[in-house]
């Protein structure tokens, strides 16, 4: 049995070695995506195009505008003269945020009553809008607090300033909310899924298309041997891929790795079983490479969305949440983020490991069962 499996593994690796294009298909898109995620994918927002309509023309209003400009988050691209200017700028996407300070702002601030300032945000990109708004409220809150303290100092000289509550948030594991720390480890799971599902599903479908599968079927090889012979080479390729991505992530992008590499290795091995199982299952269903391509797309995208990579599973409807529980990527992401950023080990990650092992066994077993040595 092992002799025959070894035979298949050797053959598969020989084919892979001959196939220059395959090497490029594997390595180049992986690195390109990794660098795109590392450099371009960020939740942080800088230099938001901002238009200002200051109808108060006071020291106070200028001070508030200066704080926006000084934060680095907003770039004042225009100073408007009328509300119409503001509407036009937002409509034409010249500005994403508008700060409107109404007349009487300074008087109200000095009196200590609620002062009218309005912020308009282009909500068409709700993600950017939300993030920009959170900066707005932070800047305004700081300003208000200082004004208040200032006011109380001036009006009640010598008296203690009024007590204020300051909320000090402390994000653990990623103190600066660095997007890169969040994306790069997650990319390991995504890229492994895309690359290995494609590779394995095509590996069998290609043989079916060319006709060599029929030739294999008349040999005494058993389905389990065939599936293992197809699995082992791509398992090795998958491991190499993860090592490359993790290496670039830690060395180039300086993503901290705080856990035990062996725990990540175990999780990766179990995840690869699942991914290989998905690829093989697709290949037992599809007759042509086009079908396999379409099916892969159909599987990979939902797997990504329903994994908790960037959209919180807890916010999903029950049915989607249920799907995410049979999605191997859901568990692997926990393992990856746990080992990279949290530095936790098996004592925490064992449920994810068990889930991955279970899913992997079910997926691989069903592909063995589905792979019949007959053309019926």
């Amino acid at each position: 049995m092992w002799g025959r499996i070894l035979n298949l593994v050797v053959k598969e690796l020989q084919q892979l070695r001959r196939d220059r294009a395959a090497k490029f298909r594997l390595l180049i898109p992986t690195l390109v995506q990794l660098f795109i995620f590392g450099y371009a994918a960020t939740f942080e927002v800088y230099n938001v195009a901002t238009i200002v309509l200051d109808q108060d023309h006071s020291q106070e209003s200028r001070e508030l505008v200066a704080r926006f400009a000084g934060s680095g988050r907003f770039q004042i691209v225009e100073t408007a003269n009328s509300a119409a200017d503001v509407r036009r700028a937002i409509d034409h996407a010249d500005a994403v945020v508008a700060i409107v300070i109404q007349a009487g702002f300074a008087d109200d601030v000095r009196k200590g009553v609620s002062a009218p300032a309005q912020v308009i945000v282009d909500g068409t990109n709700s993600n950017t809008a939300l993030i920009a708004l959170s900066y707005v409220s932070r800047i305004v809150a700081d300003y208000a607090q200082e004004m208040e303290q200032d006011l109380s100092r001036r009006t009640r000289a010598g008296a203690r300033p009024p007590p204020t509550v300051t909320l000090e948030s402390r994000p653990w594991y990623n103190v600066d909310f660095n997007s890169r720390w969040f994306f790069v480890p997650g990319v390991i799971a995504t890229l492994t899924l895309i690359m290995i599902v494609n590779l394995t599903s095509f590996a069998v479908v290609r043989e079916r298309e060319v006709g060599t599968l029929e030739q294999i079927m008349v040999t005494p090889i058993r389905p389990l041997e065939f599936i293992l012979g197809k699995t082992i080479p791509y398992f090795l390729v998958g491991l190499a891929l993860v090592v490359v991505i993790a290496g670039v992530g830690t060395l180039w992008f300086q993503i901290p790795f705080r856990g035990n590499p062996l725990v990540l290795l175990l999780g990766t091995a179990l995840y690869l079983l699942c991914v290989l199982g998905i690829g093989l299952l697709i290949s037992t269903v599809c007759k042509t490479q086009q079908q396999a391509f379409a099916t892969n797309f159909f599987v990979i995208n939902p797997a990504f969305i329903l994994s908790g990579f960037s959209f919180p599973i807890a916010s999903m409807p029950d049915f989607m949440q249920w799907i995410s529980t049979i999605n191997p990527m859901t568990y692997y992401l926990v393992v990856i983020r746990g080992t990279f950023l949290k530095g936790v080990g098996l004592e925490v990650l064992w449920p994810q490991m068990l889930a991955l092992a279970g899913l992997g066994i079910v997926l691989l077993a069903s592909s063995v069962l589905r792979f019949r040595k007959s053309l019926d």
């Binding site: 025959r4 035979n7 053959k11 006709g211 060599t212 008349v218």
Partner: protein
């Protein structure tokens, strides 16, 4: 003699939905026999072979290959058979040697025996010195002989060849048949499908298949004798179309079929009926350049039993 029976098909039937691809086909093939499956495309030749290889399960009927029930013990059957499918079935991106070691390995041929068998296959295919060539660089004839070499690495008792010579030049086809004769001489039972009439003549026995049914079974000469009851006159002339019309249903004429620019006319007695045919043509003022009795070919048999529809298929 029964000990020498290698293949026994008994009322083998395969249905795909409502379509009956193979309909109650029964035959036997013995040791060292070359059995040809002849028939138009879609007649059920390949389906029959695939059942015998265990690639398809028969809907009903039974097949024994090497004394084993194909449906019940397909794995044991596979150790005894070699198969070359219609599609070219080597790994195009592997070298000659890599293909041979791979197929040897999956058939469980090891060590010194594997070395010996690979050397045999390389020699047989005429690929000595080109062991490291990648298969995609080889031309059709070489590939075909290498595929045959891969199929016999494990010294199978029975060899199934599904249209192995399609798309190969005549010289390579001839060379391929030499190899088949050599294998049969060593006792291998060869089942081969073809639609080349000349190749069918090389077979010990022919199973003529049409519409899923076994229409005739016998040696080429037996088939000619039994299928053509009568003699054949070859008629050549300027207007074969008009001659065909004139002679169809004429007295003494049993059947007329066009063969290229000439006609083959089946009659009871060539010497006697020749005069009547000449008279009929003269009556219609059709001129002929040649009328003479010829020996029946397999094509005559084929036309007689399968009909023009079958002949039209490539």
């Amino acid at each position: 003699m029964t000990g020498d029976i290698r293949i026994r098909a008994d009322k083998l039937t395969k249905r795909f939905g409502d379509f009956v691809a193979v309909n109650a086909v029964s035959f036997e093939a013995g040791r060292g026999e070359i059995m040809g499956f002849l028939g138009p495309n879609g007649a059920g030749k390949s389906t029959t072979i695939r059942i015998l290889c265990g690639l398809l399960r028969p809907s009903s009927g039974r097949a024994e290959v090497a004394g084993l029930d194909v449906a019940r013990e397909p794995e044991k059957v596979r150790a005894n058979i070699g198969y070359m499918s219609q599609k070219f079935s080597l790994y195009d991106d592997l070298s000659v040697m890599e293909n041979l070691s791979f197929f040897g390995g999956v058939y469980g041929v090891k060590g010194a025996r594997l070395k010996r068998r690979i050397a045999f296959a390389v020699e047989m295919a005429g690929l000595a010195g080109r062991e490291d060539a990648v298969v995609s660089d080889l031309s059709g004839g070489w590939k075909q002989r290498l595929a045959l070499g891969c199929a016999v690495l494990h010294e199978p008792k029975i060899l199934f060849l599904d249209e192995p010579t399609s798309g190969v030049d005549p010289a390579s086809r001839r060379r391929f048949w030499d190899l088949i004769y050599a294998l049969a001489g060593d006792g291998v039972t060869v089942v081969i499908t073809t639609h080349y009439m000349d190749e069918a003549e090389y077979c010990n026995r022919i199973a003529l298949i049409n519409g899923g049914r076994l229409v005739a079974l016998g040696s080429p000469s037996e088939l000619k004798r039994s299928a053509i009851r009568g003699e054949i006159l070859l008629v050549e002339g300027d207007d074969p179309g008009a001659m065909l019309e004139a002679l169809e249903g004429a007295p003494g004429v049993r059947d007329v079929a066009p063969f290229g620019s000439s006609l083959h006319i089946v009659v009871d007695d060539a010497a006697r009926d020749r005069a009547a045919i000449e008279a009929r043509l003269a009556e219609r003022s059709l001129s002929w350049s040649r009328i003479e009795p010829i020996k029946a070919t397999l094509e005559d048999v084929f036309v007689q039993l399968v009909g023009e529809g079958g002949k039209a298929a490539p």
